[in-house]
């Protein structure tokens, strides 16, 4: 819940006719206030990231990114996302199938439970893994005896990242799978398709845009998570530092230009995410509309 609102599928809203809107003066005043607010809180900060990143020129910018610690932070971030996103993707598909295609008691409770990580503060998302796997945690002594390190090491970072990015894919797939119904899958089964054939040939084409949407949001969160990862990371430069943690270290060392250089890469990722999101939203709206059209004659 908190931390996220679901996909905004903008319909082709027809704009009201002339007399049903405010006078031009009021209209432009309101537009002006809204844009000023958005410029102040969104546009100016965004511009500043890049301006600070290049404050000492292009060479300094590249130097900050080519620094061995920065490179290892980039590698770790990619590595963590490469585990977290596919794990949550498999979960999302599995949960989507069970929840959207079948009816069972406790269904709504299950959906609420999947949303839980959104309601939890990032710091708490990290803390719970320290309470489980830390030296004094539930499994701490056992892990210590077997010389396994989870918290303050890479496995802890992976776990915390999976936790915070957990609901994104499932919560996009469930409504899309629900909207496409079960008739097509049933027909495929009756015609002799196997379960997996049915999924890959019938279900997947129907949910691909919703799936991609969820993957993109999940990936953005996985690569950008700071609070949860900060709690479980050992903050060892070059070893357990992800990109957001590297930004923090550089900033706290007053190396602002380098901090913003690394931050600009993350900001770029955010911009790519926003563009991809806008494109997919349009596709999603179109595929849902197409589905409604094909479904309409049956219901009539």
């Amino acid at each position: 819940m908190a931390g996220y609102v679901s996909a905004h599928r903008q319909g082709s809203a027809t704009l009201p006719r002339r007399r049903l809107t405010e006078p031009a003066l009021v209209r432009w005043t309101l537009i002006g206030i809204a844009l000023a607010f958005l410029a102040l809180f969104l546009a100016v900060p965004l511009v500043m990231v890049f301006s600070e990143a290049f404050a000492k020129g292009v060479d300094a910018y590249w130097a900050a990114l080519e620094d061995p610690d920065a490179l290892s932070a980039i590698r770790l971030t990619l590595f963590v996302a490469a585990i977290a996103v596919p794990s949550n993707l498999i979960f999302g598909i599995s949960a989507g199938w069970a929840i959207a295609k079948f009816r069972f008691p406790g269904r709504n409770l299950l959906i609420t439970l999947i949303d839980l990580p959104f309601a939890v503060s990032p710091v708490i998302s990290g803390l719970v893994f320290v309470l489980l796997f830390g030296r004094r945690g539930w499994f701490g002594p056992w892990l210590f005896d077997h010389d396994i390190k989870i918290v303050f090491a890479v496995p802890g970072i992976v776990l915390a990242t999976i936790f915070v990015s957990f609901p994104f894919i499932a919560r996009e797939i469930i409504p899309v799978m629900e909207a496409s119904g079960t008739e097509e899958e049933e027909a495929a089964r009756v015609l002799g398709a196997s379960g997996l054939q049915t999924f890959f040939r019938v279900t997947l084409p129907n949910i691909k845009w919703g799936l991609l949407y969820g993957v993109i949001l999940c990936n953005a969160r996985a690569m950008g998570e700071f609070g949860a990862v900060s709690v479980v990371s050992g903050h060892v430069r070059g070893r357990t530092n992800t990109m957001p943690l590297h930004v923090e270290i550089l900033y706290n060392e007053y190396n602002f230009q380098a901090a913003f250089a690394v931050a600009s890469v993350l900001a770029l990722l955010a911009l790519v995410t926003l563009v991809a999101k806008a494109v997919i939203e349009r596709r999603l709206a179109r595929s849902l509309a197409a589905h409604d059209e094909t479904a309409a004659p049956e219901s009539a």
Binding site: M1, G3, V5, T21, W97, A119, P122, I124, M223
Partner: protein
């Protein structure tokens, strides 16, 4: 069980995997908080929660989140209205930009806002000349929380404004109502449930927020120390009990808000169905 359940395969295996994964990744880790809080006993629990520094951090987190949610409530409804109803050049781009706070990693937002509002920053310098300090004050905390909560109100209201029945406005107009009356008597009352939902979502997100706030807050105990930061501080001092207690309190607040939001969305859904 409906008929389709017998035709489609895979319910058992996908359900089993869903429950296992959910249990291992989310449920088991989260149960540590209530279990640890209960085993530490009431006195220790009570002592931590009434510690002045903890109380101050809760007050700041809740207070700043509330103010930020109010600001987002006011400007969010305006932005949502403008984006849905008024055509202007660049509307699509602006609409996509609304989600920036979701997509931008919180640490990036944190250092950016801090630099922007620092006494020598782009916005901090002119404000400082007027005697207004933002970075490293509770005001700075609020600014970061406005940024982080901004999309919630807008995104909750946009679909509701799109659904507004133009015929009602048309009827009111032909009956002689002017735009002011239509706005205050018809449109705004219709938006209330979604508006409050957006406010609550924005508030809930802000209460637990960490990354975008720690840099701009300055982290002075009793003054600009938010509750999530205090959890980390206690953890670094190996005060696991203290960290757990503060976290549990925060978790309870989040759950109460989650329940309220679910109720509100139910209400909004019913209103929209009419």
């Amino acid at each position: 069980m409906s008929k389709s359940n017998r035709v489609l395969p895979g319910f058992r295996i996908t359900m089993a995997f869903t429950l296992l994964y959910l249990g291992l990744i989310v449920i088991v880790p989260l149960t540590t908080l209530p279990v640890e809080s209960i085993t530490m006993g009431w006195t220790a629990f009570h002592r931590t929660l009434t510690d002045p520094r903890v109380v101050a951090s809760y007050k700041l987190s809740l207070g700043a989140s509330f103010v930020a949610a109010i600001v987002n409530g006011v400007f969010g409804v305006l932005v949502a209205w403008v984006l849905v109803r008024y055509p202007f050049p660049g509307r699509r781009v602006i609409d996509a930009l609304i989600d920036l706070p979701f997509a931008l990693p919180t640490a990036v937002a944190g250092i950016t806002l801090t630099t922007l509002y620092a006494p020598n920053g782009w916005l901090g310098a002119p404000l400082a000349r007027h005697g207004l300090k933002v970075s490293f004050t509770p005001l700075g905390v609020t600014v970061a929380l406005i940024f982080i909560g901004l999309p919630f109100v807008v995104r909750t209201l946009q679909p509701v404004i799109e659904e507004l029945d133009l015929q009602v406005e048309e009827a009111a107009t032909s009956l002689g109502a002017n735009r002011w009356h239509i706005t205050t008597r018809i449109i705004l009352p219709y938006l209330y449930p979604a508006w409050i939902t957006g406010f609550a979502l924005s508030f809930a997100r802000a209460v637990g927020e960490y990354g975008s706030v720690v840099f701009i807050s300055g982290n002075m105990p009793m003054r600009t120390e938010i509750a999530p930061l205090l959890i980390i501080t206690k953890l670094l001092q190996y005060d696991y009990a203290g960290a757990t207690t503060i976290a549990f309190g925060l978790l309870v607040i989040s759950f109460v808000l989650l329940l309220a939001i679910n109720g509100l969305q139910h209400w909004t859904g019913r209103r929209l169905a009419h």
